[in-house]
């Protein structure tokens, strides 16, 4: 996925002189996860450069550049460190178009490695998507494969509105199904690891049906798509798996269609459960599919604790917890707590 993202950025820099990249360590060094490797050398100093350690300043200057007409792509080194830029993204980027009646807009893209599974401890593992999803005026994208990562990133940068682009860091170098005891896999051979050269897009707001099935619908994004797939196999159920790909805009039609078909729904995400994006998904599903539901919409998420370093695999909603939840969702009655 790192190469796919790098290729997306390379394509963007090549095609559009108004795109530029900056962030902590992204220039000469090429980023702590190597996503911008080689881009400064190829495209020049001012196209991909290092920024001060000031996420607020990075976001603020990017908004100014975007208002001027550029398409800045900024990297926040870890999604945990977006918070110092949160006010800029919410009070400024998200609201600029609305309040100025289209006079000024903020077509910027915030890339950030996100999620857990790398023993990064509390501040290198969090999944803050829910706090962005609630903000009117922001779009939030989370890819799960190299192919999507490139296509979605190009689409995000070409949007005329601000986009938060969260990159599941546990997927950077290979798919991860949550079986952490097993050997690390690489992307080689994965069907969605083939990434075309040059320009293509994957549209925001379109979910991908990763697996069709009739028993139950699973809604997931990012790393959890792979974990859910493993859980489906383990469960033996004929589950349908939707990879949402972007949570704003959300592909509500695909969700409703699938749940109306299966009559059951399980939502999985890494972030803590309470107030997480799963709540919104659950609410939407029961609002729109209530009379089709045969069991409560269920959620499997991170626990309601900070991300705990040594207990990473106890906290992480791995295949075992998903399988258990699937089983419960399939029981007709008495699923209620």
């Amino acid at each position: 996925m790192v190469q796919a993202l790098n290729s997306a950025l390379d394509t963007l820099l090549t095609n559009d002189p108004d795109t530029l990249i900056y962030g902590e360590d992204v220039g000469y060094f090429g980023g702590v996860f190597r996503v911008t490797a080689g881009l400064q050398e190829k495209h020049g100093l001012a196209r991909c450069f290092d920024a001060p350690i000031s996420e607020g300043g990075i976001a603020a200057t990017a908004i100014g550049m975007a208002a001027h007409g550029l398409r800045p792509i900024i990297e926040i080194q870890f999604a945990d460190y977006i918070l110092p830029a949160f006010d800029q993204l919410v009070s400024e980027a998200a609201r600029l178009r609305y309040r100025s009646n289209d006079e000024f807009t903020a077509p910027l893209t915030v890339r950030s490695p996100y999620g857990g599974g790398i023993f990064g401890g509390q501040t290198h593992s969090q999944s803050p998507e829910a706090i962005f999803a609630h903000i009117t005026g922001l779009k939030t994208v989370i890819p799960s494969t190299p192919y999507d990562a490139k296509g979605l990133l190009i689409a995000a940068v070409e949007e005329n509105d601000p986009v938060i682009f969260l990159e599941p860091k546990r997927l950077y170098n290979g798919p991860f199904d949550g079986r952490h005891e097993e050997q690390v896999k690489s992307w080689a051979g994965h069907p969605a690891a083939e990434v075309p050269e040059g320009h293509y897009t994957v549209p925001l707001g379109k979910a991908a049906t990763v697996r069709e099935g009739g028993d139950v619908t699973i809604l997931a994004y990012g790393t959890m798509v792979h974990v859910a797939l493993a859980a489906i196999e383990e469960s033996g159920l004929d589950a349908e798996l939707l990879d949402l790909r972007s949570i704003v805009p959300l592909d509500i039609d695909a969700i409703v269609e699938s749940v109306k078909k299966t009559g059951r729904c399980l939502i999985v995400h890494e972030a803590s459960r309470f107030g997480g994006f799963g709540g919104e998904l659950s609410a939407l599903v029961q609002e729109r599919c209530f009379y089709h539901l045969e069991a409560p919409v269920a959620r499997v998420c991170g626990w309601d604790t900070p991300y705990p370093h040594a207990f990473e695999w106890d906290y992480f909603p791995g295949p075992a917890r998903i399988v258990a939840a699937l089983r419960k969702v399939m029981e007709d009655i008495d699923g209620e707590l």
């Binding site: 300043g57 200057t61 007409g69 550029l70 009070s91 000024f104």
Partner: protein, 406 residues
């Protein structure tokens, strides 16, 4: 063991006390030197403790910062200031009459917007605070548009989405305002970086209040401006007060706000902001510096907030009523008028005629705006509430709009 000794700064005078500004060391006119624009910051470390002044007590332009300004421009500045003051006083009354939800005046600070608007070019962009109406007045922004925005009526150019006075006027070099303070100063730096990136010679100028200079946004903007040598001017408008808290609560007891530049390697100039010519001169200096590639300058615009903070505020609750009158650097309109008269480019008659003209213009604009409607009596189509969230609406907004029957 000390007894409880957390130090809390206190202003020199509170309501009932005699106002006084003796604690402010104000350098004499002509005393502060004028460095070359290509000098490095390290050659200017005395500047944050000086004060750029040009007009003396008699209205003469003197000293190293004196420069020749076309009298036509000076008159344009005077007009912008007078227009601003008349307009604002009228709008303040409109608020008392319930015609708008909010108003905020810049009384005593009009020279800033007026001078800087005229010094800078059409392609330069200002990232203003809410006390920069004179910028728009100096560029003849349509008064009726202001009134409609302030009344949030059908013809509000911002479609009812924004609080009164939080204008946006791209064609007039005036960036979108918002109610949260401080968070746009970094946009100005980004804008300047974009200008350099694109090889343009346009610059940006950004403003922040002395109170708001305590927000981290301010230093972050200074850092980026310094690191990338952004062609920008950053201004701290030190009008001595935030809302009820004096400049000492923002760190002003121990140093100047211009000195914040020193820690970022940016020249910091203090400017008498009630002196139109000093503003003109210092802003030109900083603009030239930026355009020629020497990077950003920090200006502390030294002034006094004469009016209430906003229509929600009553300053007699926290400072002596007489304090504004005691401000040692006078009124910017009176001072520029005095200068123009002195150099034979203006007279009392013309001044009175101009005031009468503007008074009429303001009345007429207000009347027209009132005819469209005032707060709650007229507003843009409700569908405007759902527009502009994104470039294209998504299903949420479409559904909700439908739910409202729009």
């Amino acid at each position: 063991m000390r007894s409880n000794s957390l130090y809390i700064p206190q202003p020199t005078a509170r309501p009932g006390d005699n106002p006084g500004f003796d604690h402010l060391a104000i350098p004499a006119v002509g005393e502060t030197r004028r460095p070359e624009i290509f000098d490095s910051e390290s050659q200017m470390r005395d500047m944050p403790f000086g004060l750029v002044r040009v007009l003396d007590e008699e209205g003469q332009a003197v000293g190293p910062w004196q420069i020749d300004v076309d009298p036509e421009q000076l008159r344009a500045g005077l007009k912008a200031m007078v227009k601003t003051r008349l307009f604002e006083d009228r709008m303040f009354r409109s608020h008392r009459q319930g015609k708008t939800s909010f108003y905020i005046r810049s009384t005593g600070e009009e020279a800033i917007g007026a001078a800087q608007s005229l010094v800078l070019g059409k392609a330069d962009m200002c990232f203003p605070t809410y006390r920069m109406l004179a910028w728009l007045m100096a560029r003849d922004y349509p008064m009726l548009d202001l009134v409609n925005q302030i009344f949030s009526n059908r013809d509000d150019p911002l479609k009812g989405r924004q609080l009164p006075t939080l204008y946006s006027a791209r064609d007039y070099g005036f960036y979108s305002l918002s109610g949260n303070v401080g968070s746009r100063i970094g946009h100005g730096v980004g804008w300047a970086m974009a200008s350099a990136y694109r090889g343009l010679s346009d610059i940006s100028i950004g403003h922040i209040g002395e109170g708001t200079s305590a927000e981290g946004d301010f230093d972050e903007a200074l850092t980026f401006a310094s690191v990338y040598k952004a062609p920008a001017i950053l201004c701290v408008t030190n009008n001595q007060w935030a809302i009820s808290s004096f400049a000492g609560i923002a760190g002003g007891e121990h140093t100047t706000f211009a000195a914040r530049g020193t820690g970022h390697g940016l020249p910091g100039l203090r400017v008498d902001a009630n002196d139109f010519l000093a503003l003109w001169s210092a802003t030109s200096w900083a603009a030239e510096r930026a355009r020629q590639g020497y990077g950003a300058t920090l200006l502390e615009l030294f002034t006094y907030r004469v009016a209430a903070h906003s229509t929600s505020d009553d300053p007699t609750k926290y400072r002596p009523k007489e304090e504004a009158g005691a401000w040692p650097l006078g009124d910017p309109i009176a001072r520029l008028k005095q200068h123009l008269i002195r150099i034979g480019e203006w007279d009392e008659e013309r001044h009175a005629a101009m005031e009468a003209d503007f008074d009429k213009e303001v009345r007429q604009a207000v009347k027209q705006g009132e005819a469209v409607g005032t707060l709650g009596k007229s507003k843009p189509p409700v569908s405007e509430m759902f527009e502009g969230v994104f470039e294209k609406p998504d299903w949420r907004v479409l559904e909700q709009r439908r739910e409202m029957g729009l």
